[in-house]
C-alpha cells in the first residue's frame, strides 16, 4: 500500500487548468523526483496535498484511507511537511521563533508562558545534530536567502515527518548546504520517511530519486524508474519533443576588447564589501564565485547603487561614478537581476506587461500617456522569446509559477537593451530548457559586445558559462581565473583558503 496516493486530481485557476487528472503514488522510505517545465503544475500539486489550495476534483488516499486535507494543519496532523518554493517566515521574528512556528513550543503548564531557554536549548541541539551553521538569533529579515532556506529546513526537521516535500530546495543553496540537505534526505528515507523532491537540477534528481514523475501542462506524462531514466528522455517527456542537450559554448578571449565596467577599490559603508576591483570587457561573461555569505550579492548591489558606497568608484564605459544609483546605472545601460525576485524583482500585484516595462516607461510614453498598444506588442514579443507561460500579458505576476516569474524578471532586463548585465542567481527556479536559453541569450549579448557579470551558487553553471571568474572571500576578491581552465576543486580550494 502506498503512503500517499492521489487519483484524478484537478485544479483550475479561473478558466485555466493548472492540473488535470493527476494520479500519482508515493511510497514510504522512497524518494519520488518530480520534474516538469515551468508552470507544469508541480507547486500547485504540492499545495493541494498540503492543504494550501482546495482541489476542484479528485481524491487523496493516505495509507489507503480517503482523506480531505483542507488546511496545512490537516497536513501536519497526517505527518506531511513541506519546504515550499518560496520562503514562508515571519520577517521580524528571530530564527528561534520562526523555528517553533506551528510546532510544539515549550511552555509551562496551561500555556501560561513560553520556556525560552528550553526552546533555545532544543534548537541548538538540533542544529548540532544536523550539522548546520546558522545564527538563530538573527531575525528572518536579516538572513540571506540561503540562510532562510536552511531555517525552514530545520523547522521541517523538528517535526515527525512521514512525508517530506521539497520544492526546489537547492535553488539558491551552495554545494556546502546542498550536501547537508542530501545527507538529511538519506537519514530520513532510512527511517521510512517518504520524500517528494521537486527540482530543475537534473543531476540532483538522478542522484536522489527512486522514481521520477514527469508533469507536462498540468498532466502526468509518466513515471520512470531511476534506471530507465536519462536526461534526454526525461526532457523529451517534459516537452513532448525530441531533446538533445546543447553543446557547451565557445569561450571568448575578450581581453583585448574595451573595458565596459571597471570597479576600482570599491567598498561599502556597512563593511560587507572590502575594497575590491574588477573589470568586465565588452564581449565577456564574467563570473563571481564564493561561498554563501562571501558578499557577492552585496558587491553587485554596491555596483548598481542600492547599497551605500564607502570608497572607490564604478566606471561604466569610461565614465566614473563615485555615488551610484539605479537611475544612473540604468542610464549607463546597466541592469540588475536581483536574487530575491519576490521582494526586489517584481511588483507582484501588477501585470506582466506593467512589470516588464517599468524601467523603460518613458520609452513607451508620449509624455502625456503610455502607449499601451506599443507596450503590449513589445511585451508579447519578449514573452514569446522567453517562453513565458501565462494567460497573456495582462496576467498578474503573482499568479505565475516561480520559474515563469523569473523569466519575467529576465525579460524585463533584456527589454532595456542594456550593455551590461548584473545577474544574481538569474537562473534560479527556471527549467532546464529555459536555463539553456538564458545562457544562450547572455552569450548572444556578449557576442554583440556587451558584458555580463554573473553570480551563481551553482559551481557547474559558473564553470560552464563564464569566460573569467573572480573568487570572493569575506567581502574581498581573492583570485581571478580563466573559466576554461578552472575546475570545481580549484574554485572551492580558493574559497576555503586551503
Amino acid at each position: 500500500m502506498s503512503l500517499l496516493e492521489v487519483k484524478q486530481l484537478d485544479k483550475r485557476f479561473g478558466l485555466h487548468h493548472a492540473l488535470s487528472q493527476i494520479s500519482l503514488s508515493i511510497e514510504a522510505g522512497k524518494v519520488l523526483g518530480l520534474v516538469g517545465e515551468n508552470g507544469a503544475g508541480k507547486s500547485t500539486f504540492i499545495k493541494i496535498i498540503t492543504g494550501v489550495y482546495a482541489p476542484d476534483g479528485g481524491s487523496i488516499y493516505w495509507n489507503g484511507q480517503l482523506e480531505t486535507i483542507t488546511s496545512p494543519r490537516d497536513a501536519h496532523r497526517l505527518g506531511i511537511h513541506v519546504l515550499h518554493q518560496d520562503r514562508h517566515l515571519i520577517p521580524a521574528f528571530s530564527g528561534y521563533e520562526n523555528l517553533y512556528l506551528g510546532t510544539d513550543i515549550p511552555q509551562v503548564k496551561f500555556g501560561l508562558r513560553i520556556r525560552w531557554h528550553e526552546m533555545k536549548r532544543r534548537a541548538e541541539a538540533l542544529k548540532k545534530e544536523l550539522g548546520m551553521e546558522l545564527d538563530l538569533d538573527k531575525t528572518a529579515e536579516e538572513m540571506s536567502p540561503p540562510e532562510r532556506t536552511l531555517l525552514e529546513l530545520m523547522r521541517v526537521m523538528m517535526q515527525d515527518c512521514k512525508l517530506l516535500i521539497l520544492d526546489e530546495p537547492t535553488a539558491s543553496l551552495t554545494d556546502q548546504e546542498t550536501e547537508i540537505l542530501f545527507r538529511l534526505i538519506q537519514q530520513l528515507t532510512a527511517q521510512g520517511t517518504a520524500i517528494l523532491y521537486v527540482s530543475h537540477r537534473m543531476e540532483e534528481i538522478f542522484k536522489l530519486s527512486d522514481h521520477i514523475a514527469v508533469f507536462r501542462n498540468g498532466k502526468n506524462a509518466g513515471t520512470l524508474q531511476r534506471e530507465e531514466a536519462n536526461l534526454n528522455k526525461v526532457i523529451s517527456m517534459m516537452t513532448d519533443t525530441d531533446y538533445q542537450a546543447a553543446a557547451t559554448h565557445e569561450r571568448q578571449d575578450a581581453s583585448m576588447n574595451p573595458v565596459l565596467l571597471s570597479v576600482n577599490q570599491l567598498s561599502t559603508v556597512d563593511g560587507r564589501v572590502k575594497p575590491s576591483s574588477l573589470q568586465v570587457h565588452a564581449g565577456e561573461v564574467v563570473g563571481i564565485f564564493g561561498l554563501a555569505g562571501a558578499g557577492r550579492t552585496e558587491l553587485l548591489e554596491a555596483i548598481y547603487g542600492t547599497r551605500s558606497i564607502q570608497e572607490g568608484e564604478v566606471v561604466i564605459s569610461g565614465k566614473s561614478h563615485r555615488r551610484m544609483s539605479p537611475q544612473k546605472a540604468l542610464e549607463a545601460g546597466m541592469v540588475f537581476i536581483p536574487e530575491d525576485r519576490r521582494s526586489e524583482g517584481l511588483v507582484m500585484g501588477m501585470t506582466i506587461r506593467e512589470n516588464m516595462t517599468l524601467p523603460r516607461l518613458q520609452h513607451f510614453s508620449s509624455g502625456l500617456y503610455v502607449k499601451q498598444r506599443k507596450e503590449k506588442h513589445a511585451v508579447r514579443q519578449w514573452m514569446e522569446n522567453m517562453n513565458v507561460k501565462a494567460v497573456g500579458s495582462e496576467q498578474t505576476v503573482s499568479e505565475l509559477s516561480g520559474g515563469n516569474q523569473q523569466k519575467v524578471v529576465f525579460a524585463k532586463a533584456l527589454m532595456h537593451e542594456p550593455i551590461l548585465f548584473l545577474c544574481d542567481e538569474a537562473t534560479q527556479a527556471v527549467d532546464v530548457m529555459t536555463r539553456e536559453e538564458i545562457h544562450r541569450l547572455l552569450r548572444e549579448q556578449a557576442n554583440q559586445n556587451r558584458g555580463v557579470l554573473y553570480v551563481t551558487s551553482d559551481i557547474h553553471e559558473i564553470l560552464d558559462v563564464c569566460d573569467r571568474i573572480y573568487v570572493l572571500r569575506e567581502g574581498s576578491i581573492v583570485s581571478e581565473i580563466a573559466g576554461g581552465e578552472a575546475t570545481s576543486e580549484q574554485l572551492l580550494q580558493i574559497c576555503y583558503n586551503r
Binding site: G14, L15, H16, G39, N217, Y304, T306, P326, Q327, A329, L330, F336, P338, S343, E344, G345, L346, V347, M348, G349, M350, E354, L358, P359, L361, Q362, F364, S365, L368, Y369, V370, M383, E384, N387, V388, K389, A390, V391, G392, K412
Partner: protein
C-alpha cells in the same frame, strides 16, 4: 512561444467574475433600485439625481486625494485638517478683498507645499506616514485656529466667490461638473500616464521599483502633494458653497474620504485603490444618506442601516470572489 489558451465557458465563473469586479457597483445599483421602489416620487427623480451629484462632490474630490496617497501605500490623515485650512485661507483672502483666482490658487499652492513636506518627512526619514500626517493634522488645526481665532468667517464674502459652489450650468451644478472633471483627470493620470503607473508600482513594491530605477522619494512626495492639494480644493469649494469658512468644516470629511476609498478598493481593480472605485464608494455613501433622509428614517437608524449596508456590500463582493 505558447501562451496557454483558455476556453470561455462555465457561466458561474462569469458571474462570479462580474461580482468580483463590479460587486460594489452592483451593490450601489441595488441600493438605488431599493430607494427608487420605496420612494419613486422623491428619490428617483432627475432633481434628486442632480442633488446627490452635488452633495457627493466634496467627498469624491477629497476621496480622490486620499486615493492618490494610498496608491503609493501611504496614508494622509491630515486631509481633513487641510480641507479646513484651505477653506479658511480662501475665505480670508476673498474677505479681505483679494481677487477670486488668488483665493482659489493660494490654498492649493499652500497645500502642495504642506503635502510635499509630509512626503519629505516620510520618505527622507522613513517615518510612518500614519504618525507624520496625524501630527501634521494637529499642526494644521492649530494654524487654522490661529488664522480664524476659532470663529467662522462669513463677513464680506462676495457673491462671485459663491459662484462655483452655488450656481449651475444649465441644470447641472458647477460642483458636479468640477467633480467629474477632477475624477476624469485623475483617472487619466493614474491609469494612462507613466507617472500614475509609477505611483502604483511604488505602492506595490517599493524596493523593486527602486531597482527598476524609479525615483521613489520624488514620486511619493508628489503623491502627498497632490493629495493635499485636492483636500485644499475641497475646502475652498465647501467655503464657496456655504458662503462661509468654518475652522473645522473639513474635519468630518476625513474618515468618510477613507471609507469611500476603501469601498472603492472593492470595485474595478480589486484590492487596489482606484479613482472610479472611490467615486463609486463616495456615491454609495451619498446615496445612502440622501435616500434614508428622504425616507425620513431617524438619524440613529440611518447610522445602523448605513453601517450594515456597507458591510453587506463588501461581503457581497467577496462572495463573488470566493465563489471561484
Amino acid at each position: 512561444m505558447e501562451t496557454t489558451k483558455i476556453t470561455k465557458t462555465s457561466s458561474s465563473v462569469q458571474w462570479s467574475k462580474l461580482f468580483r469586479s463590479y460587486g460594489t457597483v452592483i451593490a450601489g445599483i441595488l441600493i438605488i433600485i431599493m430607494f427608487s421602489v420605496l420612494n419613486p416620487g422623491s428619490f428617483a427623480t432627475l432633481d434628486n439625481a442632480i442633488n446627490i451629484s452635488r452633495q457627493i462632490s466634496f467627498l469624491v474630490i477629497i476621496g480622490i486625494g486620499a486615493t492618490i496617497v494610498m496608491s503609493v501605500s501611504e496614508f494622509d490623515l491630515s486631509i481633513g485638517a487641510m480641507a479646513s485650512l484651505g477653506g479658511v485661507i480662501a475665505a480670508k483672502i476673498i474677505a479681505s478683498g483679494g481677487p477670486l483666482w488668488i483665493a482659489f490658487v493660494v490654498p492649493v499652492l499652500v497645500a502642495l507645499i504642506i503635502g510635499f513636506i509630509n512626503g519629505w518627512i516620510v520618505t527622507q526619514f522613513r517615518v510612518l506616514s500614519f504618525i507624520t500626517t496625524l501630527a501634521m493634522s494637529t499642526v494644521l488645526g492649530g494654524f487654522t485656529f490661529w488664522l480664524t481665532g476659532g470663529a467662522t468667517i462669513f463677513e464680506n464674502i462676495p457673491d462671485s466667490f459663491r459662484y462655483i459652489g452655488q450656481k449651475s450650468l444649465g441644470s447641472i451644478p458647477m460642483l458636479s461638473i468640477v467633480m467629474l472633471l477632477v475624477t476624469i483627470l485623475f483617472w487619466y493620470v493614474m491609469t494612462q500616464t507613466a507617472f500614475g503607473r509609477r505611483l502604483y508600482a511604488i505602492g506595490g513594491n517599493e524596493s523593486a521599483s527602486r531597482i527598476a530605477g524609479l525615483r521613489v522619494k520624488w514620486n511619493k512626495n508628489a503623491a502627498f502633494a497632490l493629495g493635499a492639494a485636492l483636500a485644499a480644493l475641497t475646502g475652498v469649494l465647501m467655503a464657496s458653497r456655504l458662503g462661509s469658512a468654518h475652522p473645522t468644516a473639513g474635519n468630518g470629511l476625513f474618515l468618510q474620504a477613507y471609507a469611500a476609498a476603501y469601498l472603492g478598493m472593492t470595485s474595478f481593480k480589486e484590492g487596489v485603490p482606484n479613482i472610479w472605485g472611490t467615486f463609486v464608494g463616495a456615491a454609495i455613501i451619498g446615496v445612502l444618506a440622501n435616500g434614508l433622509t428622504i425616507m425620513e428614517v431617524p438619524t440613529f437608524m440611518q447610522d445602523v442601516i448605513t453601517g450594515v449596508i456597507v458591510i453587506a456590500a463588501v461581503i457581497m463582493q467577496r462572495l463573488g470572489r470566493n465563489a471561484q
